[in-house]
Symmetry: C3
Subunit: 136 residues, 3 copies
């Protein structure tokens, strides 16, 4: 982490950082955990889940889970999800993946259909914000 960054950069092996040191996947700012939009990029390159929106969404949620845990919290601390889809018809599949990760937890959520994500291989991008309980 560059020394000039005043927030704590939160990392997890499952969520590879984008090359080039131009942004962070996750920062802790006061007691908030602020995440970039996660896509299903694999650490070894390529896309987790291929062209399955369901599998890509699971990969995004898994990254969010690992990052929030690395920050000292859990998925129960996620207050908001923002879900970007390139094909709105994938909405039920994304909902299925969400239920597997968030069942019984109900963050606020916005879902929109967009023109494009960071690469044409991505069908879904998911952003989250969490609030840690300890005020940390």
């Amino acid at each position: 982490m560059p020394t000039s960054v005043r927030f704590e950069q939160i990392t997890a092996p499952e969520a590879p950082e984008f090359p080039g040191n131009i942004f962070s996947n996750c920062l802790k700012a006061d007691n908030q955990v602020v995440l970039s939009g996660m896509v299903a990029s694999a650490a070894a390159g390529g896309v987790i889940g291929g062209d399955s929106a369901y599998e890509q969404a699971r990969a995004c949620f898994a990254k969010i889970e690992k990052l929030v845990e690395a920050a000292g919290g859990s998925l129960a601390d996620v207050a908001k999800l923002t879900i970007y889809l390139t094909d709105i018809a994938d909405r039920p599949e994304i909902g299925r993946a969400r239920k597997e990760f968030f069942d019984g937890r109900m963050p606020a959520s916005t879902l929109i259909g967009v023109n494009a994500l960071a690469g044409p291989e991505y069908k879904v991008e998911i952003e989250a914000i969490a609030f840690l309980e300890d005020g940390g």
Copy 2:
């Protein structure tokens, strides 16, 4: 509200929750009121305002108002709006509705044109974040 949710779920009759317990319209996290994107869905089913972007926006703002009030605040506590439109030409109509709810209050605001919302019947979706004065 499922017991595992650690935030206070804020509800209002005017803002029916999405079926299936997969997300919340509104949570209180610390002193922040975090809202999902609101659409003009009616409690009894169907769309408030039909194909009028102005009436749909009014319905969204009314839901935001009721939810923030249910959390103990008012529209004066809304710090940010994010407005998603399926047809950017509806922007003046959305502005007219906004002025009726927010006149003299001036939250930060982002407005973008998107490909799709949760259903083809929706012309606008509006998300908000509020900060309660008492530190919640």
Copy 3:
């Protein structure tokens, strides 16, 4: 600033407010600095940078910098950027501009391709949230 606004409205000459008093470019809410999506609008009218996505992005980042500074912070306090592009092919150019402003600082970031921004002359809109160190 209308007296009914309970947040501190933050302004900077380089970031002209949208006419009509319908929203604020920037508010300070507790110790958070909440910004609207910035576009490359010039104070004197017209677009800074013409049809160059790189120059437009630089204008957006410069506005963000001036507003966060007016709030008592700096770009090092920016925790999150959300970047909306009308043409995803402009992504490398936006990245180049970002690096010039944020080199060594690495906020969280989401970048999506959208259908439309506030006017057809804009190629990029950039939103930010910052956390001031002093608890503001």
